[in-house]
Each structure stands twice: as structure tokens, then as C-alpha cells.
Subunit: 278 residues, 2 copies
């Protein structure tokens, strides 16, 4: 009965966040805000005699993907195609988990609701230590504000009602696991303060400004990122750092106008969706 199915999940760049641990992974997560991107991750799930995960034709292991297949009782070949660099702050692991949940539900006729699939992917990501807030943001689309941490029924979201072009450059990874498993008290205080400021005036311009302040406050800036953000600001644009990666995102043509050769996409209006030809 099971058949092949496909899902698309937008990328997600967090501008600032605070860490909220909880023994129940569905209640653990982060508060904060970020931007979902029309560049994202496509996931194809096909029934197979044993589970195999493939990125760019290479067999690999993605723990959150394995942890999604388990509660859905699916044995499958999962093919992940990412338009975005991996480990660089674009939420690719969360996207792979959520895309696997949605495509598996379709292909294996699991009969789960969207909230249930988001919960499964969020729990898989939290238990793998690979992320705290990407999945719920990627399920929503737009410019998500994570008001309360956790999966649907626990977490609560709002959004900044804006859209537009986004540019990005990436110099590689920062370890999410190393940062979020360490002492996050100072980081979380900075994230909470930024969230209160954004809620008082939820605009994209303020989100970028608060992201820059958070990166500095939380001591997460790396020299190459600082240099690019300053160059964009000097050219009259707005940029911030992707949490967590050596990545800079800019509004509009901010990076091009500062002389860089960025990738470009748009704020994605929709959350993750199943893809179908019908």
C-alpha cells in the first residue's frame, strides 16, 4: 500500500533565541524569532526493505530523521535535497525531520494531523540535540515569532507581517549542539530581552537590529561575520547573523550592494507542505 511521497520545507534562520529545557521534549524548545526562506529542503520518502538516508546521492545518517521514522513505524529510503548549506544556521536538520514526517505520513498513509507531524519532528530534533525551534517555525512559514517554546499544544507562535527578498552568504558551520548543551543563561537573558523588544514593535527592521544586538550580547559573533554585517550596514543595508552558523542574512539586496556575491531568495509565505502532481 505504501508509496513514494515528497515534501518541501522552507529554510529557517533564527535571529535571536532563548533556551527552554524541559524533561518532556514536546515542551522543551526555544523562544525567539527568525525568518523562513523560499530556499529550503525537499524530502522524498520511498518504502524500502531497510531505512537508508541519502543526501546528494551519498548515504548518510541524520539522527532526527531516524527518530521521525520510528514513531511512524516506517522503513524507508529518505532522500534529502537541500538548497542550503548544512550546519550553517539554516535549519536543515529540522527541515529534514519535518519533511520526513510529512512525506512519510502521505506515502505510508499514517493518518496524522499537521500538529501531530510537527510534534513528532520537534521531539526528534530536541532529542537529537540538533535544534530547539526550527521545526515549529518551518511548519508555519513567514517571519515566525516563537512566543512560547515547544510543539503544538504547548508552544505558541506569532509573526511579523512582512515579506521581501533575502540574501545570504555562509562561511560554514558553528556547532548548535555545543552551544545549546552548554551554559546558556547569559544567551537566554539576551534572547528574552530581544523578544520583548520585538513584541513591542514587530517589524522586520527591528528583528534585524535585535539580531545584531543579540549576537554581540551572547558573544556568538565570529570575525568574518562581523566584517560582513559591518560592510552591509556601511552600505546602508540591514543584516544579521544566522543562529547558529557562520552565516550572514540581509534584507533586500543588502549584500549585493555591499559588494558580495550572495545567494538570494525570498521570505517564504507558507509552512512545510506535501508536494503532489495532482
Amino acid at each position: 500500500m505504501a508509496e513514494s511521497a515528497r515534501a518541501f520545507v522552507p529554510g529557517h534562520v533564527t535571529a535571536f533565541f532563548s533556551v527552554h529545557r524541559h524533561e518532556d521534549p514536546a515542551r522543551a524548545g526555544s523562544r525567539g524569532a527568525g525568518i523562513t526562506l523560499s530556499d529550503g529542503v525537499s524530502v522524498t520518502v520511498e518504502p524500502a526493505p531497510e531505512t537508508q538516508i541519502v543526501i546528494d546521492a551519498e548515504p548518510t545518517r541524520i539522527e532526527p530523521v531516524e527518530r521521525v521514522l520510528e514513531p511512524l513505524a516506517a522503513t524507508a529510503r529518505v532522500t534529502v535535497e537541500s538548497a542550503l548549506p548544512i550546519g550553517a544556521g539554516f535549519g536543515v536538520s529540522g527541515a529534514a525531520a519535518l519533511g520526513t514526517a510529512i512525506a512519510t505520513n502521505r506515502g505510508f498513509e499514517c493518518g496524522r494531523s499537521e500538529n501531530e507531524l510537527v510534534r513528532i519532528a520537534h521531539v526528534a530534533e530536541v532529542n537529537s540535540g540538533t535544534g530547539l525551534g526550527d521545526v515549529v517555525a518551518q511548519a508555519r512559514g513567514g517571519v515566525p515569532i516563537r512566543l512560547d517554546p515547544g510543539a503544538p499544544d504547548h508552544g505558541r507562535l506569532d509573526g511579523v507581517p512582512e515579506t521581501g527578498r533575502i540574501e545570504y552568504v555562509s562561511f560554514g558551520d558553528l556547532s548548535t549542539a555545543a552551544v545549546i548543551s552548554g551554559d546558556t543563561d547569559h544567551l537566554s537573558a539576551a534572547g528574552e530581552s530581544a523578544l520583548a523588544d520585538l513584541r513591542a514593535r514587530p517589524t522586520l527592521s527591528r528583528l534585524f537590529a535585535l539580531g545584531r544586538e543579540f549576537a554581540r550580547e551572547a558573544d556568538l559573533l565570529v570575525p568574518e561575520v562581523t566584517e560582513v554585517i559591518e560592510a552591509v550596514t556601511d552600505a546602508g543595508g540591514e543584516a544579521t547573523m544566522a543562529m547558529l552558523g557562520r552565516t550572514v542574512v540581509a534584507r533586500g539586496s543588502g549584500l549585493s550592494e555591499a559588494g558580495y556575491d550572495p545567494d538570494a531568495c525570498r521570505i517564504h509565505p507558507a509552512g512545510a507542505t506535501v508536494r503532489t502532481d495532482r
Copy 2:
């Protein structure tokens, strides 16, 4: 400072619902489920010396739109362009209200969040008696399940994780105000029962089947709608009635295959969004 701005809101067809009254309009609403459509409503808001609402170049009055401008303290010319017939169960009044909220927030720099704008439009629609659940569904996109009634912070949503082509034919209006202001106990019991059934197995096929059952149970069927639904069923397709209008929606090419000449669109993956050229 204020400038012109534009928003797009998907159409929304409710398959079944129950009525939930409350003295606080942000807590009033409906539970139920429906489908958002890529055919929808575009709203342009321009600063003007006095408020004027225009549909298809004709000045008109749309009470929910007026009730949205008031809390945003905006005096504007509002131009509503609808790809969908008005009053026929496509949520055009909710779309006009929500589109006005989003475009006004952008053009007049009101600095509200998405949840706040949805609340303003939902309250406007409830207070006008023109609808109970379209606005929150249209803000979400996809195939929304309204688990709990009301605006964000009160209402709670889930979704059916499916997409695809939708066809529709319409024979005109049924009065939403007349139905939802009358005795709705029997209707609501049928709606609650359908919701429980859908939550147990949230698929599009079940949503259509439950919609047909609800229309019959709630005694809302009209002869021309019954005839078309039966023709689609006989041709092997799936169709249901739009609540509340003399309108039939079908999955895939169900109406074409039954010999009708329908309009066609898709399930819309995204909620309402501001439109920008940047």
C-alpha cells in the same frame, strides 16, 4: 508617512462547523474544518481624506472592513478584488477584513503583529455577523481544522496535511447571517460529531465525506447542490457543499469529470500575506 499597500487572502470553504457564541467576540467563533483556496481576494489600501470601499470599481459598504479600519485609526480608500463570488460560501467578507488589516498595517505603519491583525479582523467579522471562522482559517492556509473557536490566544488550529487541485461551481448565495443568528443547536451537534470524526482520521477524503453528511444532517442542502454532489459521486469523484452558499467544491477534476464547467484552483499552502514588489 502613510502609503499604499496590498495584501492577498486565500478563499476559504467550510465543510462543517459548530457555532460558539461568547460575549467577548475574540472568544466567539466556530469549530470545524475547511479548505483554503488559491483563488482569493486582493485588497489595496490607500490613504484618503475619507474612507471609501470599492469592489469591482463600484463604491460599496462592507461592514467588517469598516470595523477593521477603526481600531487601526486609518482613513483609507480600500479596493477589494475578488476572484470568487461574494456571499456564496467562499469567505470573501472575512478575506476583505483580513486583507484590509494586513495592508493597512503595512501602509500606515501600525506596527501590529500577525496575531493582532487576525484578532482585529476576526472581531470585526463576528461583530458584523458575517462569519465565525473564515478569518482564522484564511490566516493559516492549507486545510485548517478549527479545534477551538476564536482569535489567536483563544482559538486553536490544526490541519489536514494534504494539498491538490480543487474545482467549484456556484449558484449564488445563502445568508450566513440568517443561519448563524438562528437556532443552531442541531447544526452544532452535527458539526461537533463531524469534527471528532475528522480528528480521528484527518484526511481530505474524510473531510469531504463528513461535509456531505453534515450538510444533510444540518438540513442545509438545496436541490441544485444535491444534484451536483450526486453527479460527482456517480462519476467516481468527491464533492461537498460550501458552508454557507449554493456552492459545490470537488477534489481534483471531480466536477469536470461529471460534465460540469467549473472554476479550478488549488489548495493554498499559505495564509494571508502582504504583497510587495521588493
